[in-house]
Symmetry: C2
Subunit: 478 residues, 2 copies
């Protein structure tokens, strides 16, 4: 064993969390409406499958491009040889246009500040390699994407200091929580080099407000540290408030403190907004020349296939297509999310109010046997094995409160989503009914009169819980 590195022989990759384990279970027994109707439904995968018809229709009209031709002449040779880590200029120009379009042109991006990477995964790791030495730290608001433990820490040796957000304010970022995390890092003798946020948030499915972004900038100015904003879901924002990029706020604040521009970095990708994770297109955007220079060299460890750059450069250059694609996809996401939210509501479960992303952040505290992470895991296993839904427990996202789950809604057909909702309904009915009977037998109902009252109002407010502390979430949708 000791012939291998620590990285290879230890579990520091973080892939043993229930987030990844749920995937493995799904793969053993995947749901299919006819071939395996009792299989597990994958609701742990943040894929955007809602607009393939639009993409396929574009491809059908552009067979020359798909076929690696330009004006009828093959460009195969040119592409086969193109391994310049600066990327295809035409592709990068279209990418910065697309990024600006998503931000309604309130901010402009320039192609020479963009570094292409094979997905957002290497983009995040590259920024860690550029901004922090091994043993230095980044603050991450919780709950955060489970993959970050692997992506940010594993090979870089960088540490993550969690900043605990609370359901009491809808998991918002506050100056107080940032400062607390910073103090915590100091106690652990960790040098903090920056804060990394996902905006729109994965797993919360919400955008950051301008107030939150300004708190973040204040904090970064005060401590002399970096901000990384992972904005890979920026094109999925389907409801107000509108998406505000960190770059807009940094630009506004730069008149007062110019240096902040050099310390704000964006990670972007086409995997979510365009629904093409298999094509591995990610990027780092930075105003910091040294970061761009180092990140470009590091991009050698994960360049984007030139074949893919060529295809997507042409796709994105079609203005009519991209506008229609974004608008239609956002409309469909909104509609699909409503199916999930109303389905869960019908099952007595509520979702955090959301306006973006491919998932809901779901409050299942009323289904826990106790307000503990053990109870959360127990519930997760029940939902995975008995109900047949793979959802992601909040603990895998380092959420500090047990009972929250990320539930994806855009990686399946509407029919499948409705099957999932029926299963949830049957499950919660059985839980609530068992609890209710238990309560009747133990006289617990008399003690908890508020539950009985609520249950008479409607099923969705039937907040039965075996533990008494659970407060209804005021930031959830009614």
């Amino acid at each position: 064993m000791n012939m291998l590195s620590m990285k290879a022989s230890h579990d520091s990759h973080g892939q043993d969390s229930s987030y990844f384990l749920g995937w493995q279970e799904y793969e053993k027994n995947p749901y299919h409406p006819f071939q395996n109707p009792n299989g597990i439904i994958q609701m742990g995968l943040a894929e955007n499958q809602l607009s393939f018809d639009l993409l396929e229709s574009w491809l059908q009209k552009n067979l020359d491009i798909v076929g690696l031709k330009r004006d009828g002449v093959s460009v195969f040779r040119e592409l086969a040889l193109f391994q310049d880590y600066h990327g295809l200029p035409a592709f990068k120009n279209q990418l910065v246009n697309f990024m600006a379009k998503i931000r309604e042109n309130r901010v402009k991006f320039s192609a020479e500040k963009l570094v292409l990477t094979a997905g957002a995964t290497p983009a995040n790791e590259i920024l860690m390699f550029c901004l922090a030495n091994p043993g230095e730290a980044f603050i991450l608001p919780t709950p955060y994407y489970p993959g970050f433990d692997r992506d940010l820490k594993w090979r870089t040796g960088v540490e993550i200091v969690p900043m605990h957000c609370s359901s009491s304010n809808g998991f918002k970022i506050t100056s107080f929580a940032l400062e607390q995390a910073y103090q915590q890092a100091q106690k652990q003798s960790l040098k903090v080099k920056g804060v990394l946020v996902t905006n729109p948030s994965n797993p919360l499915g919400i955008t950051m407000t301008k107030t939150e972004l300004n708190h973040l900038v204040d904090f970064a100015i005060d401590k002399g540290i970096h901000i990384i904003s992972d904005e890979i879901y920026s094109g999925t924002v389907f409801n107000s408030p509108k998406f505000v990029s960190i770059m807009e706020v940094a630009n506004e604040r730069s008149s007062q403190f110019h240096e902040i521009l050099n310390r704000v970095h964006i990670v972007y990708s086409l995997s979510k907004d365009l629904g093409v994770p298999g094509f591995r297109v990610g990027m780092v955007y930075s105003n910091n020349e040294m970061v761009v220079s180092a990140a470009t060299k590091m991009s050698s460890f994960g360049l984007v296939s030139s074949q893919t750059q060529y295809l997507l450069a042409h796709l994105l250059s079609d203005e009519n297509f991209t506008l229609k694609y974004l608008e239609e996809t956002q409309r469909r996401l909104k509609q699909r999310r409503e199916v999930l939210v109303s389905g869960l509501r019908n099952a007595g479960v509520r979702c955090l109010k959301g306006n973006a992303g491919l998932f809901c952040w779901v409050d299942m505290r009323n289904l826990l046997s106790s307000s503990t992470f053990e109870a959360e895991k127990e519930l997760w296993k029940k939902i995975l094995y008995q109900v047949g839904l793979n959802i992601s427990p909040g603990s895998s996202c380092h959420c500090s409160e047990p009972g929250w789950f990320r539930v994806c809604f855009a990686n399946m057909s509407e029919d499948t989503l409705r099957v999932a909702m029926r299963r949830m309904k049957a499950f919660t009915d059985s839980v609530f009914s068992a609890n209710f009977n238990g309560i009747r037998r133990s006289g617990f109902a008399q003690h908890n009169t508020n539950y009985a009252t609520r249950s008479s109002i409607g099923k969705w407010v039937f907040q039965l819980s075996l533990h008494e502390e659970s407060e209804p979430c005021t930031h959830c949708e009614l």
Copy 2:
């Protein structure tokens, strides 16, 4: 500046060597037969451009595949979503078949031991992350590929201990040299975790003999360390002796010492053998389950585009095509190399005997003003700026003897290669003539009678040198 990491703010990426500087100069003033006939000819780029006609003809016959269809039906959706880091099974099966074919099926490979990476660059880095901790070391025979300083060391913190090979035995790997390097590492308190070789060698353009490979295995067994064999040029072997993979030797030796199988790892890529570096297809092959498991997870930082996997899976599945492609490419490489060797011979410069690769290892010691690396750099600059050829000096490959250069021959047309050879001839004529006149004036010719004798035999043996130590290379082609 201390806001950034050491990696981003220091030059440890190794990209400031003359190898990379020459590329930059070329890009400022690239040769074109009509538009820029006095521009720099790029002979520093190991690209295989000789068989695009074969690839394009295959594509022309397989428009459905290029167009992302299967039996006329689009597979776009399926591919767009495919981001499994285990790779497309069909592609991996074809890759292991192709690897076996190149080794004439003397060794078999199995798809589940193969990890796909976005090129050989991340494959080599991933093996460093898996096999060594920061501060531990790998031994590399010199001269070696200049990019290794970046690829192996920069982000991993692994050290390279050079093992000095000598022109006196044709730069062969010996047990003595391996042991010397090991002792050197111990003096520097570096723990050696393995040896990394390129076979066929870049920059030497030769394959390793079975004797050398056995020395390597003996050494790895003796010291309890790993062997990485970067075999990205294995399909380019155009002359005897045949290519022997480390895996063949390891298999033979495993009856005597089974554990060695777990410590031999191959890096492979389609960039050189198939001439498609822009498509970013590389891989790690290992019998070591823990290495495969960790490398698979690390491959998330540089996955291969599913679009590219699909296309190349089908290309490689065409047995007739691959056999013909390999045979014809090797024939063309052999012929093209002969143009280079005879052109240089005509200019009084000799090449190490070679049988593989896209380059020659060229002995220009007779053109140095002194046997120093300063003189080598001076000559390199003359050839770059005055002659207009970008070739790679041995010093950029960490060669321990000044005066050797890597010259690529497969990344240009034959016409361009002939222009390069005419330029070389004119250059060496002027050098030899100036030297000869200088010698006549100083009486140096009388002192060095051997040169005068040789010059009467033929121009190519006109080994004029301003320093006297230069011995003709007995391992060079006559």
